[in-house]
């Protein structure tokens, strides 16, 4: 076998001849030696480029893979676990739900609008690759404080990009998170989760089979945008916030998204799958054709010949390595039998989607070690062989590192620097107001209603959707999803912090009546070559595994984003957890967050921490971190069994309301919105900002004041002890009895009503005494005023 010499890559990359090519491409000397061992010879330049992109941190997970193995991934509902394009669970009624989360942090830091837009496009392709119609998107976003013009530009650009792409492509954005912390000033985080659904029998996997079958490229043309993009962007940190020069150099790698192309691609691919016209299908994401062709061949145990000259290019004179590694958006690779090809071409013409046969599936080569499928890159069908490598080696032989791990220096001092007790009380009312912010400035820019499935949208504890969509069998079920994170907890204790984040996700689902069934995660961390970052990552994965095991939740997908750093400083560890839940019968609106006049307000869950520390720990709380700048201390304890009991109780109570026939128990006619006169009229979990914030948000959402009594000072008001819910009810007696029977502590705190929000201490003095209108105004204006933007849209205060 002879392989033609590749392109003079040195020259096209503008490198001097002195620098070894593999190092310029990001491969270490050891990794080059591994390539030579796999091939049994020196790679040519094209082959080196393929290994460089596929063995980058972004594509190979070479620093995190050995740790990710510790996550639980099995469960009775799991149809597809980690490793495929998306995780898939069996939701019942013949419907499967696909879910995936990803980061688009580095592209968004350089060009926020296109970076965020293409992040949405990429995650949708991961989901419809599985045969699922994308039905909902959520976006957890993290920026530096908005007192910087750059941060405002980033936020405006990212939200605008999600809005422009998501709305146009026709997938509702049903929730997300907005977090501001100085650690993200130089490196914002843009994560995106997508949920889709499919009839179970349409489930497809991204694999090639059947030698002689055609590899067909669908969608956009291939350009030089995003050449080596993920490896360049995702595997390198940034200069400081003000060092624009380095970022400018990376700008050419940012791709431009075309949601209209993607919309046609979605419809065409789902139609191809419905008609049974494809053998396998795979999206083109990071590492472009190199990844899609090698992965489909490797998964199917076959080889593939790819004719680079057949790939429709946007620009003339593109070199083979550019064609193979380009990350041009809105492209898919389908494996098609020659007999079906004319029908495939015809269906694509109807949707105005370009379809080009660019290769063929080949028999694996018989070797002493077993069959080996080879990926060959050809110049013209039957033409010169430009590259010839074992297809599986790009993924399977990727390096695996157990990088050094060490707890950060100063960790003991940080844990000892506990604000609990040492930080004096202040004006609780003013401190509460400072924590309030209405996120609707962002989500009003997102279509969150398309498909008419969104029962609870952005602003609720979790998104709650009907389990319905075009082409799905009928079902009364609902699906719920939430994304959660708490970098302020994880910075103190990544293990306990990550467990707490999972717990919060489960609690959020309970508020909309859903039982959790699966978890996905997006692990945003700093530079893995820093031993304390690897320690944080490993600890966070252990915390995730512990909580998921305790709650019986399989982790069915994830993404690891490393090198989130700027000017040598790593971000705080930011694991983002998405929890998917199901509701058996969704017939009526769940109670929602808003209080109702005259209802009793009950706290479900413990009043204080039972551990050896302070009864109301404030370490890692928003009050301490955001309000007082105290970033140390001890996190509240998490009793996994107690948490599970509290969440199951709340989910059952909410499910009774949501499962009632329309017009039945406890519901108004529907037009009036949430709640009614039933046993439970409102529910909200106690999380960031503590009991004080939960009560304030419930009052604002309901447009009704509240008076709560007997609160043990600022510490009880702001502690973020987990496993707690505030419930409003007209029947406090039966509710408390039911909680006690379930082993969940319950205490009546006060009642909803009037126009003021009052929280009294144990001695009857007012810790907080604010007019509801004033509180609601501060909440509504917090984000727009920081952005210096006028308040837009109708004046509906409902969250």
């Amino acid at each position: 076998m002879t392989v033609a010499d590749g392109e003079p890559l040195h020259r096209s990359l503008g490198l001097t001849d002195g620098e070894p090519l593999h190092r310029s491409l990001g491969l270490t000397d050891g990794e080059l030696a591994s390539v030579e061992e796999v091939l049994g010879r020196r790679p040519n330049h094209l082959e080196l480029a393929l290994y460089a992109v596929m063995w980058s941190e972004h594509c190979s997970y070479k620093s995190s893979r050995i740790h990710l193995r510790r996550l639980p991934t099995d469960g009775p509902r799991v149809l597809v676990g980690p490793g495929e394009n998306a995780g898939v669970i069996d939701a019942g009624d013949g419907i499967a739900v696909a879910i995936r989360i990803e980061s688009h942090n580095h592209p968004s830091a350089i060009e926020p609008h296109q970076g965020a837009a293409t992040g949405v496009g990429g995650i949708l392709r991961d989901v419809f690759t599985m045969g699922a119609r994308p039905l909902a998107v959520m976006d957890p976003l993290f920026f530096g404080p908005l007192d910087s013009a750059r941060q405002r530009w980033l936020l405006e650009g990212v939200v605008g990009g999600i809005s422009a792409y998501g709305n146009s492509v026709g997938v509702p954005t049903v929730g997300g998170e907005l977090t501001f912390d100085p650690c993200y000033s130089g490196n914002p985080l843009v994560n995106v989760l997508c949920l889709g659904a499919l009839p179970v029998e349409r489930l497809v996997l991204g694999r090639a089979s059947g030698p002689g079958n055609l590899a067909v490229l669908l969608g956009s043309t291939t350009g030089r945008d995003g050449i080596g993009g993920v490896s360049v962007l995702a595997s390198a940190g940034f200069g400081g916030e003000r060092e624009g020069a380095a970022d400018d150099a990376k700008r050419p790698s940012v791709q431009v998204g075309d949601p209209f192309e993607e919309k046609r691609l979605i419809e065409a691919c789902l139609a191809l799958l419905d008609a049974g016209l494809v053998v396998g299908i795979q999206d083109l994401g990071g590492a472009g054709l190199a990844c899609a062709t090698s992965e489909t061949a490797a998964r199917g145990g076959v080889g593939m010949d790819v004719d680079v000259s057949a790939v429709p290019c946007r620009e003339p004179h593109m070199a083979p390595w550019e064609v193979m590694t380009s990350e041009s958006q809105e492209r898919m690779l389908a494996i098609v039998t020659p007999a079906a090809w004319p029908e495939v071409a015809e269906l694509c013409r109807r949707w105005e989607v370009r379809a080009t046969a660019i290769g063929t599936v080949t028999e694996p080569e018989v070797t002493p070690g077993g069959p080996v499928g080879r990926l060959r890159v050809l110049e013209g069908a039957g033409g010169a062989v430009l590259a010839d490598i074992p297809a599986a080696s790009l993924a399977d032989d990727a390096p695996l590192y157990d990088r050094p791990r060490a707890a950060p220096a100063g960790l003991a001092d940080r844990l000892a620097d506990d604000p609990t007790g040492s930080e004096p009380a202040g004006d609780c009312g003013a401190e509460l107001v400072a924590l309030l912010a209405d996120p609707s400035w962002a989500y009003r820019q997102y279509d969150h209603q398309l498909f008419c499935n969104t029962v609870v949208g952005p602003g609720g504890d979790a998104a709650l959707l009907r389990l319905a969509g075009p082409g799905l069998p009928p079902s009364e079920r609902g699906m719920a999803v939430t994304t959660d994170s708490a970098p302020r907890w994880c910075a103190i204790d990544p293990r306990a912090g990550t467990s707490l984040v999972v717990a919060e996700g489960v609690a959020n689902l309970a508020c909309v009546g859903a039982s959790p069934v699966a978890v996905v995660n997006c692990l945003n961390f700093g530079n893995p070559e820093h031993s304390e970052v690897m320690w944080q990552l490993s600890e966070a994965i252990d915390g995730l595994a512990e909580a998921c095991t305790a709650f019986g939740l399989p982790v069915i997908g994830g993404n690891v984003s490393l090198y989130n750093e700027s000017a040598g400083t790593d971000i705080d560890p930011t694991p983002v957890v998405g929890v998917l839940g199901l509701v058996d019968a969704l017939r009526a609106r769940p109670p929602g967050v808003g209080l109702a006049e005259g209802a009793s307000v009950v706290l479900l869950g413990r009043r204080s921490d039972g551990g050896p520390g302070h009864p109301h720990p404030l370490g890692g709380s928003r009050w301490a971190v955001e309000g007082r700048g105290r970033r140390g201390g001890k996190l509240p304890g998490l009793d996994l069994a107690a948490h599970r009991a509290a969440c199951e109780l709340v989910a059952a109570l909410v499910a009774e309301v949501a499962g009632a026939p329309p017009g039945g128990t406890g519901l108004g006619g529907g037009d009036g919105g949430d709640g009614g006169d039933g046993p439970m009229v409102a529910v909200h979990d106690v999380s960031g900002g503590g009991l004080g914030l939960a009560l304030a948000e419930m009052a604002i959402a309901g447009g009704v004041g509240v008076r709560a009594r007997g609160i043990a000072g600022h510490a009880e008001l702001f502690t973020e002890l987990p496993s707690r819910f505030v419930v409003a009810t007209h029947e406090p007696g039966p509710l408390v009895a039911r909680a006690e029977a379930a082993g969940v502590p319950a205490a009546v705190l006060g009642a909803a009503g009037g126009r003021s929000v009052v929280m009294e201490g144990a001695d009857g003095s007012a810790l907080v005494d604010l007019q509801l209108a004033e509180l609601a105004g501060s909440w509504r204006d917090a984000l727009p005023s920081r952005l210096d933007a006028p308040t837009e849209g109708a004046g509906n205060a409902r969250g």
């Binding site: 146009s168 209209f260 046609r264 398309l450 029962v455 075009p470 329309p662 529907g670 837009e792 849209g793």
Partner: protein, 226 residues
């Protein structure tokens, strides 16, 4: 037999399934009509649903008006058949010259997806016949280019001709005269920025959109009978 509603689908349209489900909930039979079709079949009414036809490139509706189906829609409208454009469909009808005025970018230069309250201001349209003037409906809006504009003479003609169908109680986009929906002079062609199909199920918080869809179905049944 149920009224037959043709729901027109352009590449980039995304509300077609929601509209079809809502009119079926209201008692009609819906069928999707591809933009290359030159024939509306046996339709008793036509709906151009929301979305981003042709990606909204150039201007919303600017390219869709040249799709083959639009000749059939224009012919159907000229014969007095009820035609309703919702959101992007409204934009297409103005670009096609079947409705006066135009829809430009929202005052705030941002997309807005929010609840909105609108008041019925004319009983003379295909979606409000039989609905009392002054009825307030809660129907969401979802658009970037929803600000209705027209010149002063057109506005005067719209008012004089009782062609302003819906007005916003809280104007979300800067539309002239708070206009949320207009009709042609005959009343059979209507454009709406609010999405009635998104307010057609108590589970989603409002059923007010069914008021407009029921009126449309009654008109469609009238077309059949005639």
């Amino acid at each position: 037999m149920a009224a037959r509603i043709a729901v027109v689908v352009f590449p980039g349209t995304n509300c077609e399934h929601d509209v079809a489900a809502a009119v079926e909930r209201a008692g009609a039979a819906a069928s999707l009509t591809w933009h290359r079709d030159r024939d509306l079949g046996q339709a008793d009414a036509v709906v151009l649903p929301g979305g981003f036809a042709h990606g909204d490139y150039l201007r919303p509706g600017a390219l869709a008006r040249f799709s083959p189906v639009m000749e059939a829609v224009a012919g159907f409208a000229a014969g007095g058949g009820p035609v309703v454009g919702i959101c992007n469909g409204f934009q297409i009808l103005t670009e096609a010259g079947l409705l006066p005025g135009a829809l430009v970018k929202n005052r705030g230069l941002r997309f807005v997806c929010a609840p909105s309250r609108v008041r019925v201001d004319s009983e003379r349209s295909a979606v409000t016949a039989g609905v009392a003037v002054g009825t307030v409906l809660s129907i969401p809006v979802n658009h970037f280019s929803g600000s209705y504009v027209c010149d002063a003479r057109t506005l005067a003609a719209l008012r004089d001709g009782d062609q302003v169908v819906l007005r916003y109680l809280e104007n979300p986009n800067g539309s002239v005269d708070d206009i949320a929906g207009v009709a042609n002079a005959a009343g059979n062609v209507v454009g709406l920025m609010p999405h009635p199909e998104r307010a057609a199920d108590a589970l989603l918080g409002s059923t007010d959109g069914l008021v407009l869809l029921a009126a449309l179905l009654a008109q469609a049944a009238g077309v059949r009978a005639a």
